[in-house]
């Protein structure tokens, strides 16, 4: 069943890719503008320049995004778990989370840059600041959603807190946490692009903006495609992990 589903999913992805290429090609023929080159010219360009010019930028971006997501999970999940399990922690932290959640964090960028400099730290902090809220709230709600009977069974067995976390809270909420991560990924890629347009000479964001400044549209499109592909691959990895972990659902 799962295999059939994923097959149709792949077919869907292939159809939409073909469709995008057809529309792109049609636009490029119709408009005949340098800003819309042919998709095949872009593809050939990627093959020619990837190893020499793009790989290093891709690695930097990948490192930042994986680091940002990992840090958000490492900090956000335990915090959400504590808020979900201990009502007292929730009462103290929830107002704080709800108050800071709607603040447009990207507007804090100047402050972050002043405090942490132009380097890697402020890029990482920006990503974490923006996606951690989704992860905290999802983890908290996942724990709160676990039926009381399940806790009762464990309590009557005399399980200690560590055992309750290990046997119930972590397995029960892992799938939800991954769903939140998958959703946060899209946001994280946008922030990544934005933060890479300043204070660095590496990263896909820098590569794309640099190509744009040099009016090298082929390189610019190559960058956009590689950045999208990176997002797609990360998305797929989380998707597969989620399927694997939540096979009991």
């Amino acid at each position: 069943m799962i295999k059939v589903l994923s097959n149709t999913k792949w077919q869907g992805a292939l159809y939409s890719l073909v469709l995008v290429i057809i529309i792109w090609q049609a636009l490029s023929w119709l408009l005949k503008l340098p800003i819309i080159p042919s998709p095949f010219a872009v593809l050939i360009n990627i093959i020619q320049i990837f190893a020499a010019k793009m790989e290093i930028h891709l690695l930097y971006s990948l490192g930042r995004i994986v680091g940002g997501i990992a840090l958000s999970i490492l900090l956000g999940v335990p915090m959400g778990f504590l808020m979900g399990y201990f009502n007292r922690v929730d009462k103290v932290l929830s107002p704080l989370v709800y108050f800071t959640y709607p603040v447009p964090k990207i507007a804090l960028l100047p402050i972050i840059m002043l405090l942490f400099g132009l380097g890697e730290a402020s890029k990482l902090i920006m990503i974490v600041l923006i996606i951690i809220f989704q992860i905290i709230i999802t983890s908290r709600d996942a724990v709160k959603g676990i039926p009381q009977e399940i806790f009762r069974s464990l309590q009557s067995l005399g399980a200690n807190r560590l055992q309750i976390f290990k046997e119930v809270i972590i397995p029960a909420s892992m799938a939800d946490v991954l769903t939140a991560t998958r959703l946060a990924l899209g946001t994280a890629v946008s922030i990544l692009f934005f933060t890479e347009t300043f204070g660095t000479q590496y990263g896909m964001g820098y590569f794309i903006m640099d190509a744009w400044m040099r009016v090298n549209y082929l390189d610019m499109y190559a960058g956009i495609i590689i950045l999208s592909l990176m997002g797609f691959c990360l998305f797929t990895v989380i998707d597969i992990t989620e399927k694997h972990i939540s096979s009991w659902r």
Partner: protein, 246 residues
């Protein structure tokens, strides 16, 4: 031996205080099986929550073999109406949960395999709870409780969500395994039939706040072909009368 003396439980909701259990006094001998029957909302489940150590806010004394209730020290098997299985664990790991937490035992021993076989679930070990029928899930919950080798078995309407055929099948199966182990058991039910079939003594509760109306000796317990006998019908009438009076 379970000794319950002057047990009173109150629920506080906002400024209101509701009396759930009022002065419960009862002793359950070691190796006995008592069924508790009464109208819904009479506090039967509350009593079970006290015995299982989930509810600690009560007055009076509750002692198991002379010691206060402590789920960490005692081995308490709890079987709930909605099974209480962990949906993310397969049958094997669900049945192992009790001994894993109590003894840090990781692998099923011979006794565990024997129980699984008795309950007819040894071929379902890889399945997850959602892939099982209600009856199968309840077998898993029963297996988990017995594999634990409990000092005390607490059952809260475990068969009431099942269809009539699986219910009677599981009642028989439960009695068979129970006889081999003779665990002290408190069994809550709302069915007169079940109370008679499974209890050596039957404790009848009043409507809320829960008080014990009567503790009835059950001469029908463990009689063959019980449901076809006159004694069974007499006892049924008797119990219904006590329940109606309350």
């Amino acid at each position: 031996m379970i000794e319950i003396k002057d047990l009173v439980v109150k629920y506080r909701r906002k400024n209101e205080e509701t009396l759930a259990l009022d002065k419960i006094n009862i002793n359950i001998g070691t190796g006995d099986i008592y069924t508790f029957i009464g109208p819904s909302g009479c506090g039967k489940s509350t009593l079970l929550h006290v015995l299982s150590g989930i509810l600690r806010d009560y007055t009076g004394s509750v002692r198991i073999d002379g010691r206060a209730i402590d789920p960490k020290a005692q081995r308490i098997g709890l079987i709930l109406q909605n099974y209480g299985l962990l949906p993310w664990k397969n049958v094997y790991h669900n049945t192992m949960l009790g001994v894993k937490i109590k003894n840090d035992q990781q692998v099923m021993d011979d006794y565990g395999r024997y129980i699984l076989q008795q309950l007819g679930i040894e071929s379902l070990l890889d399945r997850y709870p959602k892939e099982l029928s209600g009856g199968q899930q309840q077998r898993v919950a029963i297996a988990r409780a017995f594999i634990l080798k409990p000092d005390l078995l607490l059952m809260d309407e475990p068969f009431s969500a099942l269809d009539a055929i699986s219910r009677e099948e599981l009642q028989d199966l439960f009695l068979k395994i129970w006889k081999q182990n003779n665990v002290t058991t408190a069994f809550i039910t709302h069915s007169v039939d079940e109370a008679l079939y499974l209890g050596s003594k039957i404790v009848v509760f009043s409507p809320a706040p829960g008080r014990i109306l009567e503790v009835v000796n059950n001469p029908c317990f463990q009689l063959d072909n019980l449901r076809f006998r006159d004694e069974y019908y007499d006892m049924c009438m008797n119990l219904r009368k006590i329940l109606d009076k309350g």
